[in-house]
Every structure is written in C-alpha cells, then in structure tokens.
Symmetry: C2
C-alpha cells in the first residue's frame, strides 16, 4: 500500500456517507490504519466527522483520538456523551492521556479525571504531578518487567500473558523484589537465547536510565545516543516507574527544533500549539527582543548624527544605506545560521573555532567582493559618480566580510560562555551590523570622497 | 547508568594509557557501549585514538566505526592496514557501508570495494546504483523474510536462526515464491499468537511500502505517519529488496530540518557535513540570494532618491532609517518564522489563513504601538523636535503592523502556490520591508512635517 492513497478513496467515502450506507462505511473504516482514518476524518465536514467517529470500533476510537491535536480532542470531547468520553479515556495509553490533560483547562481535567476508574485516576494524577517537561511527565508505566531468576522460557510466557497492553514488548526491564532496576534485555536477546538460560545471565546490567524529575530532553539524549527503543525512568530510590519510548522522543525533537527556530527569530519560546496561545502571551513572547532592538537602533541613529556633516555634503550617500546595512545583515544571518545549526547537530565543535573562522573569512571576503562589484555597477549606472560608486562598492565589500565573521563569531562565543547559540537571532545580528556597517561606510566615504568632517 | 558519566572515567582511561596498561584498557572498553567508546575516542589524542581502536573487539570496531562521521572514517581508514580496513568493512551493516561510500572520493570507493568478498561487493554496488537520496540508497537488505504457509512456531524458529545479523527482527515481512511482498507481521503479533496458527492468518496484508526509486523523504513520511519501526522497499515488480529503519529516519529528519534552517537564512541547501563543503560550493550556495538582495535593494535606493527633497529639507529624518527598516524586518521575520514552522509541523493549515491573518494583525498593531511609543520617546529626547518624533513614532507603528502581516502572508502564499514556505527567508522579508518601510516613512513625514516635495 502506498502513502497518500486517501485521495483515491475519498470520493468512495463521500458516497457511502451521502447514501447513508453506515454498514459499508463501518467495514471500510475497520480495514484502515488509525493514521489514515485521521486523514479521512479531517477531510470531512464537522457533523460527518462526529458521525464517522461513532462508527469506529471501540479500540480504534481511542487510537485515532490519541493522534488528534489537543485542540481537536477538546472540541470532540465536548460533543461526545459522558459515557462515550469515559470509554475513550479508559482505552487511551497513560502517556497520551497525560498529554491531553496537560493541554486542557484545569476544570475540564478535573471533570474528566472523575470519569476514570480509581486505579487509572490514581495513575493519571501521579503522572500529572511530575514537573512540566520532566521525564516523569512524558513516560508511560506500561512496560514489561521481568525477574532475574526467570528462565528465558518463563520470561517469554510472561511476555505473552502481559504484553498485549504494553507500550513496547521489544525492551524488557529486570527489577528485583524492591522494584529496583537491575538490568535490561531486548526481546531479540531473549528470542535468540536458549530457553533454559536464566534472564540474569542474558540481561545487560549496564542499563541507561533517567530520573522522573530529569528534564525530558535528557531522556531524548539517551534514546538518541544509544539508539535504543525506550529509556527506563526511575524514582529517587532507583525504583523503575515507567519508560519513555522512541515515538515520544520524535515529538520532543520536533518541539526542540521549533524552539530553535523561534529563538533565532528573536521570539521567546512558545510551547503551546499555534492556535492555543493567547493574545497577551503572543505579545509578551515577541515584544522583548523587538524593544531591545529598537533601543539598540539608537546606536545607528547616534552614528548617523555624528556623520551628519558627511551626509549633508553629499546627500546621495543616504541612498545606499539600506543596501549596505541589509547586505551586512543578510550575510551575517547566513553565517550565523550555518554555525548555529552545525553546533546543534554536533557537526562542528567549539574547539574547531579557529578553523571555522579561517574558512569562513575567505568565503566572506569573496562574497563581499562579488557583491561589492555589483553594488559599484548599480551605483555608477544610477548616479554616474565614480568616486561615490567606489565608496559604495568598497564599503559593501568590507561590511559583508566583517558581517560574515561577526555572524559566526557570536554563536561560537555564546557556546563558549555556555549559552544556547540559538539565542543569536537574525534580528540581533542585523541590528549589530547596522551600526558596524554605517561606521565602515562613512569612514570609507570620508577617505574616498575626501570630504571633511566638521568637528 | 546515567548519561555523560564519561567525564568521570576519562582520568582513569588517560592513566591506563599513560601506564601502558593495555589489558586494563581492553577490559574497560569491552564493558562500554559503542556510543560511549566513541565519546572516549574523541577525547583522546589522534595517536591514542588509533591505538584505542586497535584494542577493541572485532565486532565492536565496526559498530564504533559506523558511528563516526564520514570525515573521521576516511581519516582512520588511511591509518589502518588493508587487512584491518577489510575486516571493518565486512562487519559493517550494508546501509552504513553505502553511507560511507557515498561520502568518499570515487577512487577510494573503488579500492575499498575490491577488499570486499564477491557477495558483499555485489550488494554494495547494487545499493550504490540507486539514485541519490532515494529509498534504495538508504535501505538495508538485512530484513527477516517469512512465508505465508509457515506456522508461528516455525516462523519463530526461522527468526532464531537468521535473526542475529538482521537490522531488526521486530518487523517481519511475508513474501511469496517470486519474492513479492504480501504482508507484514510484527514480532509482537507473532509472539502473542498461538504457535499452531499460520503466518498468513496473523499477517497484515495492508502493508505500507515505498519503491527503491522513491525519494528517501517518502520513506520517512511513511515511518512517521504510521509510527512503524521500519518500512519495506520494493522494486518495479513489487519484489521486496530491503527495509528502511526508524534510526535512518531520524537521520533524514535531522537533514531536512537543517535544510529548512538554511533556506530561511537564504542559503541553498548544503547536504554535505560542514567541513566537507568545498570553497567554491560554499560561495555558490550563498551568493545567489545575497546578489538578488543587493539588486533588490536598488528599490530602496530609488525610493530614497525620489524623496531626496524631503530628506534634504530635514536631514535628521535620515537618522531613523535604520531603526525603522530594522524594526519592520525584525517583526516580519518573527511572524514569518512562526507561520513557516507551524506549517511545517502541521499545526496550522492553509485553509486557516483568514483566522491567522486576523489574529496576527491584532498582535502586530499592538507590538507596533509599543515600539512606536518607545521610538517617539527616543527621538524626542535625542532631537527635541516633537513633529519629527511624532513622524518616527507613527511610522514605526505603521511599518511594524504592515511588516508583521507581510511576514506571515508570504509563507502562506508560497504554500498556496505549492512552493516550500521555508524559501521565505528572513533576508527576503527584510529587503522587501526596507522598501515598504521607507515609502511609509516619507509619506508620513511629508504629511506630519508638512514639507513640500519638489516634483
């Protein structure tokens, strides 16, 4: 089966709905993967959507429901009967449930928690009690636990009996009678071992774990580094309480990338989904940097004021200010992006700084030369003054060369003082280079145009 | 075991090396995870590194070697004897091998291919023959294949016999006698089934696959969408030839994010690792946008020239040009980043465009008001002219409001005409807003300062 075959089936589904062939629709949906059902439901009108949901098998409802965005989940819950909502909630995986509750308003969560049976309610409350963004908050208690004195055959039997509802059965954790984590065995190890062997002889004692209160990013680092399908989470007394699986890790990675993008645009991190962020919060997240940069632009203003003499004696110099400051900023944001991303993926290390500076300086000088030549040509054609065109060309060359180096030096410096290099936003670089570019421009102008500055 | 314990052990390792306790070092490394050995080796001096490598067990060498960056792999291969290189290459997973060959110069690949036994050489050649960035190029032929008429017990026996060298045993593929893909069964399905059942009765016939020549991103989409551990790859005649696993998917996702970051900074995509990109290529990747933007800045220049009269009669207007154009660009790059990222993660859809425009317009007008007030204050303090300060404040307010909307409208428009919104770079937005901002500024100036423009 190939991806995106949905479009082929959509007319068929629409017809089933129009002819009210609910049996046909039910049979059709039964065969489909939850992710595809989600696609289908999203293509339908709101009323058709609720109806489609009602036609799904019980276990499939909660699978499809878990795939929805929290906003969509909230909308749907409002339209379901209490009984229906209860059924879905009970069937959901504990970690998906925490994620849903995390996004809902407190009074809705309270109402929904009351729908859960005592055991699930206790579990949900425990998970919600871990700090925001902690490993405990994203883990699921649904792991396979084994004992050291089990034989492989006995362990397999245990997995067969309890495995159906576990988040994964491919990694099994070995705990002692006090629930302390003692080792790990992959299902591969177990399957390939002799049925008579003891689990303690095939398990790996060097098991990597995180604590419930550790940041979720630590769990991500462990899964990524050791290429494992899940990482166990232990409490303060080293007792195993849950696992974080690789699919949750993909979600966290996604979040982190969004964080980097936003920082680089000078936005404070917004964790909520786009449409859930309130008005005042959206202002607050963005205003800090914007105001800092307006104030920082006072430097450019002061510089321009200082060179008012030069400007006054040749107004045409003004025409090229946007071209000049813009080019510096553009080059700087290119080089800073290259360095920030390469630092994030680990392609370059701080200790390579000298090599990076050397490499990029050459690139910057060459780029500056090409751009300077073009700027010279443009200036000469438009104003016909060779000295002025020369000033513009040489200034652009210098500004681009300098801007390029500044753009890569600042993120390296941030890493050096242990700040996230992604805080070096394009706007910050651009504002810094506005000021630098203007000084370069007017100093070159003074010399090339042999103008005198009034003191 | 916790992450980053390496630092604790490093002094111990250094001592083992200094006292030339090779046996102790060998024992120490045997216990470690390949990812940790990699960390250790990277902390060592180059000569110590080669020595450390020689102390590893045969099977661990190729595991650690596969984790290295291609540049490091190339460096090491030069220092190994032919026999040593051969041993490592043979032990490597086929997909890791393709990745290494992909990065090496053709003549080195040819030499290394000759070291491989005929079977592995044929396989490596076949994989290298698939197009760049295709699913065939990143797949591994090391999957578990089952037959429909096998019983579950028989299938488990087959998995036990052949599973050791397979990339994954957690997903098994069912093929017929012509090697055509007929279904999929997870090890979970198999383990939880009755041993007497037939594979054809427990397999899922709705198996999602990609073709060898499909783009690797398609394989990624399938794995992400259906939350599966691997996707099968078939040839033109629907015969199963390999699989792409979830760890390869994480790598591709990483690459794609880098692509987005670079596009948003106006850099053409660089696929190679940072230090492998040659000088001329680094120039070419960056110069296109930079030159386009220099030429585009001619618009700003033309505008300034047109308003020379206004400027000449009040030179102080010049002082605030960088503040004004900068603020417009900064706001625009914030809003474009928010929209581009939300489109990439699917949080917002094109059909929501009206809702987004409405929401963000309010935010932009409010941000502009705050910033305009600050700009007014700064201008009034520094020059003491109320009318001028008013011009600056009102212009900034307008420019920010407009810039904010333009910043989010352009990526939405790109998506509408089916271009990647990530092509909307911060530099592009900034350059567009320079011109827009200047027109707004001078038109407001003309009115507020009641100056006349010479025609």
């Amino acid at each position: 089966m190939e991806l995106q075959w949905i479009k082929i089936f959509l007319p068929e589904i629409k017809e089933l709905i129009e002819t009210k062939d609910f049996k046909g629709l039910r049979d059709f949906l039964r065969e489909r993967h939850p992710a595809d059902i989600l696609d289908i439901l999203r293509e339908l009108e709101p009323t058709e959507r609720v109806m489609g949901f009602r036609l799904l098998d019980k276990n499939k409802i909660s699978e499809v429901f878990s795939l929805l965005e929290p906003v969509e989940q909230e909308d749907l819950l409002k339209q379901f009967s209490e009984q229906h909502a209860k059924e879905i909630l009970i069937e959901m995986q504990p970690d998906d449930r925490t994620q849903l509750f995390d996004e809902l308003p407190a009074h809705v969560v309270e109402k929904l928690l009351k729908l859960l049976p005592p055991l699930e309610r206790k579990e949900a409350n425990e998970l919600l009690n871990y700090p925001d963004n902690s490993a405990g908050r994203i883990m699921t208690p649904e792991y396979v636990g084994l004992r050291m004195d089990m034989t492989v055959a006995k362990a397999l039997e245990h997995i067969r009996k309890t495995g159906l509802n576990r988040e994964t059965i491919y990694v099994c954790y070995i705990v002692d009678e006090t629930q302390k984590l003692r080792g790990v065995a992959s299902l591969k190890n177990i399957i390939l071992a002799d049925p008579e062997q003891f689990i303690k002889d095939i398990m790996n004692e060097n098991v990597f774990f995180v604590h419930t209160t550790d940041d979720q990013e630590k769990a991500v680092r462990v899964v990524q580094k050791y290429d494992i399908l899940a990482v166990p989470v232990v409490d303060n007394e080293d007792r195993l309480v849950g696992i974080v699986t690789v699919d949750d890790v993909l979600d966290v990675v996604q979040e982190e990338v969004t964080e980097d993008f936003q920082r680089m645009a000078g936005i404070q991190t917004i964790e909520e989904e786009y449409f859930r962020v309130g008005f005042s919060k959206r202002i607050l997240n963005r205003v800090t940097w914007l105001v800092i940069l307006v104030v920082a632009a006072t430097i450019s203003q002061t510089i321009l004021k200082r060179y008012a003499g030069v400007l006054g004696s040749m107004l045409a110099l003004t025409y090229f200010i946007p071209m000049l400051t813009g080019s510096g900023g553009n080059t700087g944001s290119q080089s800073s992006t290259l360095v920030i991303r390469a630092l994030a993926t680990g392609e370059i290390k701080l200790k390579d700084w000298w090599r990076i500076l050397l490499r990029e300086s050459k690139v910057g000088v060459s780029l500056g030369f090409i751009m300077g030549l073009i700027a010279f040509t443009i200036a000469y054609i438009s104003l016909g003054q060779c000295a002025l065109a020369m000033t513009v060309g040489v200034s652009l060359w210098t500004v681009v060369s300098v801007g390029n180096v500044i753009g890569l030096a600042i993120p390296l410096f941030f890493r050096f003082v242990k700040l996230d290099p992604a805080f070096v936003s394009a706007p910050l670089i651009a504002t810094l280079l506005d000021a630098t570019g203007l000084v370069i421009y007017f100093e070159i102008a003074r010399r090339v145009l042999t103008l005198t500055v009034p003191t």
